[in-house]
Symmetry: C2
Subunit: 243 residues, 2 copies
């Protein structure tokens, strides 16, 4: 079974939703058979590279005072604390997250995607220092077990993993995602938002119970699904070529 | 797009089929958006742990002489050489592959699955020394970039990744696979056997063109797919909790 989770690092509900999903997954009897893949979603693809403090940004966006923005962040922080997550309300900044997503795809190839995503969330929501900027990202990558030079090379090449990020975003759009976090189970069930852990439990159970795959469409000749004889091995031995 | 490939290390057509698939993938314009996952299939789950030379095994299995078994292996070797793969005809041995599959699942978590699978194939089909046995597997794991102690710990614990292997095998059975290699594209298209590279090209193109995902079934409340309001962020900002 596969769960794909679309997220953005600028999204506090993604940080909180990940923890809620993981609570459900930790208690799921078939958790060993669940693969989790994190996918890219930019809340604002046009955000500038240079980061800006979040409170004036929120105040602008929602037409509220700085005090109201601070109160809103404090309520989000309460939700995070409720899941046992550290959160420094109103201390984060925001910037373009494309490089973070490219780096997360590199980390996936290296088997370190989950570690890097956690490191990015912590840096953004729970640490005084900004999570943005190339040097800081390399530092966070190293902390997540990635090679320093390789991570720096990915960040230095704007084309590296850019297609993979775009492809994730197109897939999310094609599946009707309008926001994040967005959870997709076996490309059949969808969960929107940082739902309570019980909702994720229900989704995991539903996906598990209905997981009999649909019939495959065969391509080419061959045994099994394809029909005919193929160069293949089965319980009774291997096809032996005659020449 | 995701391609899952069920294989066994005791399967020469899996070794050859992997090369043919990779030829097609290397020439596929959207290759950057294709994820390849290797899945477990044991041709003989009851095979003994201690390895035995392959020629007498083949002669027994097919009721042929040792010379005929040698000739059959030589013809398989020709197919391998035709793809530029090294193959020492008739020199391999065969044994239970469950531990290899467990180790491949560990390698997947570490982002080293493809490297380990290649190392196992090479060791089995193209090297004088046996590919089987715990010490040899640890050596091959290290060659594939895995941590020596961690690989040894996986092999020492028979339960490690055992469920993941079984789950792969059940999925293959549910999809009608009767032999390997068995290729599944986005859980929609199937290719059986070491087909020519052109067949894989056709399958990749067909999967790409038809890749619009089916509508998701929503679980829980929430925006987007789920409907209603969720704790989520979208292009217009984040849901702000009222308390």
């Amino acid at each position: 079974m596969r769960v794909e989770i679309w997220t953005d690092i600028n999204c506090p509900w993604c940080y909180i939703g990940k923890a809620r999903f993981e609570q459900a997954l930790a208690a799921f009897p078939h958790r060993a058979e669940v693969e989790v893949v994190h996918r890219s979603f930019e809340l604002d693809p046009h955000a500038p590279q240079t980061s800006r403090p979040v409170l004036p940004l929120l105040a602008d966006k929602y037409g509220m005072s700085l005090e109201q923005a601070e109160a809103a962040e404090a309520r989000i922080a309460e939700n995070a604390h409720g899941e046992g997550l550290p959160y420094l309300a109103g201390r984060r900044d925001a910037a373009n997250s494309f490089d973070m997503h490219r780096l997360l795809h590199f980390a996936k190839e290296q088997g370190r995607q989950d570690e890097l995503l956690d490191a990015l969330y912590r840096a953004n929501f729970a640490e005084e220092r900004s999570a943005f900027g190339t040097d800081r990202l390399v530092e966070l990558a190293v902390g997540a077990g990635l090679d320093e030079e390789a991570a720096a090379a990915v960040l230095a090449d704007p084309a590296a993993y850019a297609e993979a990020v775009r492809e994730d975003e197109q897939t999310a759009a094609a599946m009707g995602a309008t926001g994040v976090p967005f959870f997709v189970l076996d490309r059949r069930l969808g969960v929107s938002g940082a739902q309570p852990a019980e909702t994720f439990t229900r989704a995991l159970e539903q996906a598990w119970e209905s997981r009999v795959p649909a019939p495959l469409i065969p391509v080419g000749g061959g045994g099994g699904v394809g029909g005919g004889d193929a160069q293949a091995c089965g319980p009774d031995g291997c096809e032996l070529p005659q020449r």
